[in-house]
Each structure stands twice: as structure tokens, then as C-alpha cells.
Amino acid sequence: MSSALRRIGLAVLVVLIAFPLYWAVVASLTPEATLFREPSLWPRTVILDHYRALFTTRHFLVPIRNSIVVAGCTTLFCVTVGSLAAYALARLRFRGKGLILGFILAVSMFPQISIVSPLYLMLRALGLINSYPGLILPYLTFAMPLTVWLLVGYFRQLPPDLEEAALVDGASRWQSFTKVLLPLSVPGVATTAILTFIYSWNEFLFALSFTVGPDRQTVPVAIALFRGQYQVPWGEILAAAVVATVPVAAMVLLFQRRIVQGLTAGAVKG
């Protein structure tokens, strides 16, 4: 396939993906009344009111901060603890591996709506309602399985030759893990971190149920609370969505170079 064709195909795909976002940006700059009247591909009148409202009446920076803290801590915790477990599950011999992997996966398979009630009771008993740990802990039920399974996959895929070589040279298991395997698996770890972060960023039901006030509510909950009894403030909601993608986009940009760091050529061959 010629590279020109490939470039065109890529451009088409990017346009298809970006179009709804483009439209969201346009809509967030349009007065509400015109929005429902005639749809148009570019803004006829541009107003910044929705964005202004976000940062004045809605204090939107607070939920953004909360989301960053919760998603960030969840990711950090899951990636560190998860990579330890993943190393053991991928490289070490011991009984009960399948059981442990199965248990970790099974936990995330219960629909969130069914575990929301008992989780609420539990968090209340621990006094964790409306706190950061009160969100991070429940998030572990879906973030940890994702992290562990992804990392086990990555570690398995890396050929064990280098680690074996290190072990032969007298290194301990721990050293071969930290000095050899981890540096090689940076792309995998970076990918896992991004996926876990975005997963946690997006989560709505737990955040709605376990927070009480604006000081701890996350972005999806804050946006849901924009609604009045019948009215949906489209302009502000879309503006909020646009603003909320900025931290995520920044994180992805930061990490994306790491993702595609390939295997250093020659390290394994020969």
C-alpha cells in the first residue's frame, strides 16, 4: 500500500473521529437558542459565555482537580502494586496462579449498579464518604484487574532471555525485575497507566454515589449536576467536556512517545 494512500486513509479516519469533537467545540461557542434552531458546521455567532460560566458560577476547576487527584492516585497505586503482582504471575512458579488471576478478573465483572449499595454501606461505616480514599478504594475494583491483566500480558510477551542472563550473572529475582524487566516494559507500563487513568477519569456511578459536595465531586458528576429540573444547559455541558479533555490530552501527549518505544534492536537477538 503506497504511503500516500495510507496518509489519506489516516486523514479520513482522524477526521471521522475528530468531527464530533469539532462539533462539540462549535456548539460550546454557540448561544443556546441558535443551537436548536439550525445546525451548522461552523459557528455563526461566537460567544464565550458558556466558558465564562464554567469558571465563575460553576467553579469548574474544583472538579477537574478532584478528577486529577482521584484518577492519578488510582493509576499510581494500581501500576505500582499491580506490576509487583504481574511480575509474580508472569515469571514466577507457584501454585494458584490461575485462581488468583481469575479472582482478580471476577471482581471487576459484577455490574457497578449492584455493588454500589453495599459499597456505600461499607464506606459509610469506615467514614470515607466524600473523601479521596473513598473514591480511590472502590475504583480499585475495576482499575486493579485491568492493570494486572494488562501488565501480565506485557511481561509475558517480553522474552525471558535477558532476565535469565541476569540471574545467571548472580542477580536476585528482585534485581532482575527492577533492573532488567521494568526498563524494557516501559511501553507496556505507560500504556497501562494511560488506560487506567482514562478509565478512572470517566467513571460516573461511584463518583456520584460516594461524594456529597462539590469539594470532592469529579468531572462527570459535576457535569451531571449542571442540569436543572427540565433544562439541559447544552452550551455549558459541551464547554465543560471540552475543558475536561485538556488534562487527559496533556497526559496522553506526555506518555505517547513512551508507548511506541520499540524493543531496542539487538538487545535480544544473537
Partner: protein
């Protein structure tokens, strides 16, 4: 100078060493956005000034009915003490009362006769009053004064007027828009058609009568608006309140069925194309029935596990007092629930809508069945109504099936002995 400094220092020390705030704290949870939120906060602030020995906090909960219901259920089921005062949708009162989550108010001797009887009826379960009506919503017929010279006096006339206006030069594309998506709003629309044909969902004995011949006529008429006369666009089957409002606001409809909140938005000439070109009326009837509005609105109740029910009652009394209801009407357009206020000239100037029309709409308002399992019954009915309106089944089949399912659920619930109504 140093004398002043010492005084200030002493005061600072005194306040540091001062007692912890031991005043009782109660929390209110309900609408806290927009003009409703501003009004509530203002009134709560005034209440605090009148009662400096009490602290009142506002705990916002989502205005989306489903989300607020979910959160309330979660908190109340966990026997959480706050919020002490809850803003309930009118259809939740019997459910929460039966579950034991809100307190009966009879011991406080509320002045029930001062409120509209329909609203009191909607909040009474097992012969006891469980919530005070705070503001009332009724279904209204909005009609275009630039296209018609009088409001329709019957449903048939409505259809004829709509057809005529649509056919005219520059006629709008839609005749009549109403809420027809598969949600509670569909039932509020349906209830009005039912009443117009002399039918109801449940009778006073608690029996399901949604499949009587008159009810079938009502549903047939509703469906014909879409399928036969094309007076209502098929889109209404996916529309909630806002979509219908925008359709009417953009000048695309002759009639709209909606709640009072739309009135001030439609009158805003900076965004509405029909500002000054519409009016409201009560829903018309058909032969054999009478003009009926669905009763909506919000009620205030006391958390059964709250620590300070007496103080919570004081707040409820204050918020539902005539002065506060008038203030709210002026600020938000929410209709008061006290009958006497409708003779008060201050209300006439506070509301944009002519008072006599509002009063007759409220007096013709019909509550939906008052039973703890109402949400489930409503869900079953919604599905069947929707199937009939999309032409998947006939109205008769749909209603018979709905009645059958509803009766089964009622039988299952052990409610016959307690009475499914009240």
C-alpha cells in the same frame, strides 16, 4: 494604639478559646441550581437569621429525577441522618412512606386544608400525611395566538385547528407537540387524555381500570394524532420537556403540552421566536370527560432517621409559608400550593400567567395513583403505551396487557390488604 492592640488580641484569644459550635445542624437537599436554587438559599439564609440557634446546610442533589431518586434511596436505605429535609417528587412520597424513610407529619398538626386537596391526597399514605406540598406543577396547553383566535374547547377542535394552521401559508410543520418518550412524562401526558375521555388509571377502590373502553378511546385518539391525522410528529415519541419546548419556541408548533416552567422561557424575546405570540389554557376535553391536568410538583418531607425532626419541621413550615411561596412564584414561576394565595393580588403580579387559568388548571389536576409501587406500575404502562403509539400493537391490546401486568404486580406486593390507594 497599644490599648487597641491589647483589646483586639484579647478578642482573638477569646474566640480561639471559645466553645465549639454546638448548635444543631440540619441539612436540606433538593434543587439548588438556577433561580430555584438562589431562591431557596435566600430563604434559608433568612430562616437562619430568624433562628440563630440553628445551622442549616444545603446539600445539592442532581435535578435529574432518576439520579436524585437513586441518591435518596441510597442514603435513606443506609439510615443516614442527613439530609433532614428532602425535596421529593410528588410520586415518591408513598414509596418512601411505605419504606419507613420519612416521618408522618400528623403530630405537627399541619394545616392541610390550606393546601390544594389534590396535592394533599398525593402525599397521604395509609391515612397519614407524609409530606407538605411545596410547589405545584400542572400540565398546560400552550397555544399560538398569532395562528388562532381562541383556545380549543374540545380535543376534536384542537385537532381541527392544528390541521388548519399547519395547512396555512407559512404554517408550522407540527400541530401538537407533547412528551411521548418512554419515561414518566409520557404518563403525565396520558393521564390528561384519560381524564379528557372520562377514564383513569386506578379508581378510588384501588382497582386498575386503565383498560376500560373510554381509556382505549383516549389512547386511540393519542395515537391517531401521530399515525392518522399527522398532527403530532413521530418525533414526540422521543421527546422530553425540553425538546417540545424548543420545537414550540422556534415557532414550529401550533400547540404544546408542557409544565409551567416553559412560560417565562418562551416569553424571553431574546431567544424565543414566539415571545408575545402565545398563551396558555387548560387541556381540552372530549365528550364524556372533563378537562384534566396532570399534577406534578415537589414536596418537602422529614428524614425518619434525622436527629432533629422538630427543627426540620420548622424549616418546612417556613419554606411553605405564604410569604415564601409568593417570593418563589415571583422568582421562579413555580406555582404555590396554598389556595388562599390565588386570591392575593400579589400573586397575580408575580406570575406571568393569568391567575384564573392557573387556578382552574390546578383544580382540575389529577394525581397519579398514590401507591408505593407506582414507579413500577408506571414503567409497565409506559412500555405498553409506547408500543401502541409506535403502531406495534393496537391500543386495546396494549392497555389490556398493561392492566394484566399491573394487576399481577399489585397482587404480588401484598398491597390489597393495605389498600393500593392511600
Amino acid at each position: 494604639m497599644s490599648f487597641v492592640f491589647v483589646i483586639v488580641l484579647l478578642q482573638v484569644i477569646a474566640s480561639c478559646a471559645g466553645e465549639k459550635d454546638t448548635r444543631p445542624v440540619i441539612t436540606y437537599s433538593g434543587s439548588a441550581v438556577g433561580s430555584q436554587g438562589e431562591t431557596v438559599r435566600r430563604q434559608i439564609a433568612r430562616f437562619q437569621k430568624l433562628h440563630p440557634e440553628i445551622v442549616v446546610r444545603v446539600q445539592p442533589s442532581p435535578d435529574d429525577a432518576t439520579q436524585r431518586h437513586q441518591l435518596f434511596v441510597q442514603w435513606l436505605n443506609a439510615h443516614v441522618g442527613d439530609p433532614d429535609v428532602l425535596e421529593l417528587d410528588v410520586i415518591w412520597t408513598s414509596e418512601f412512606a411505605a419504606a419507613g424513610w420519612i416521618l408522618p407529619l400528623d403530630s405537627y398538626a399541619p394545616a392541610s386544608s390550606e393546601f390544594f386537596p389534590a396535592a394533599i391526597e398525593a402525599n397521604t399514605w395509609d391515612h397519614r400525611l407524609y409530606a407538605i406540598p411545596w410547589y405545584v406543577g400542572v400540565g398546560l396547553l400552550y397555544w399560538r395566538t398569532d395562528l388562532l383566535d381562541h383556545a380549543p374547547r374540545s380535543l376534536d377542535e384542537l385537532v381541527r385547528q392544528a390541521e388548519q394552521a399547519m395547512r396555512g401559508k407559512d404554517g408550522p410543520p407540527y400541530g401538537f407537540v407533547w412528551q411521548g418518550a418512554r419515561y414518566e412524562g409520557l404518563i403525565t401526558t396520558f393521564v390528561e387524555y384519560l381524564g379528557a375521555f372520562g377514564a383513569e388509571i386506578m379508581n378510588d377502590e384501588g382497582e386498575v381500570v386503565v383498560d376500560t373502553p373510554q381509556a382505549i378511546e383516549a389512547l386511540t385518539f393519542m395515537g391517531d394524532e401521530i399515525i392518522r391525522n399527522h398532527v403530532a410528529p413521530p418525533e414526540v415519541l422521543t421527546w422530553h420537556e425540553e425538546e417540545t419546548r424548543f420545537a414550540f419556541q422556534n415557532g414550529n408548533a401550533v400547540f404544546m403540552r408542557n409544565w409551567p416552567y416553559a412560560y417565562s422561557l418562551l416569553s424571553d424575546s431574546s431567544r424565543s421566536r414566539v415571545a408575545g405570540k402565545f398563551a396558555v389554557a387548560t387541556m381540552p376535553a372530549a365528550p364524556g370527560g372533563k378537562s384534566t391536568s396532570a399534577l406534578g410538583g415537589a414536596e418537602l418531607a422529614i428524614n425518619a432517621h434525622g436527629e432533629h425532626p422538630d427543627i426540620a419541621w420548622k424549616l418546612i413550615e417556613y419554606l411553605t409559608a405564604p410569604e415564601q411561596q409568593l417570593e418563589r412564584a415571583a422568582a421562579t414561576g413555580d406555582y404555590p400550593t396554598r389556595r388562599a394565595l390565588y386570591d392575593d393580588p400579589r400573586l397575580a403580579s408575580a406570575l406571568a400567567v393569568p391567575l384564573d387559568q392557573v387556578r382552574s388548571a390546578i383544580e382540575s389536576a389529577v394525581p397519579r395513583p398514590v401507591t408505593p409501587i407506582y414507579t413500577e406500575l408506571s414503567g409497565l404502562l409506559q412500555v405498553q403505551l409506547h408500543r401502541a403509539l409506535t403502531g406495534q400493537t393496537s391500543p386495546a391490546d396494549a392497555l389490556h396487557e398493561a392492566a394484566r401486568q399491573m394487576k399481577a404486580v399489585i397482587r404480588d406486593s401484598g398491597l390489597d390488604e393495605r389498600g393500593a390507594l392511600r
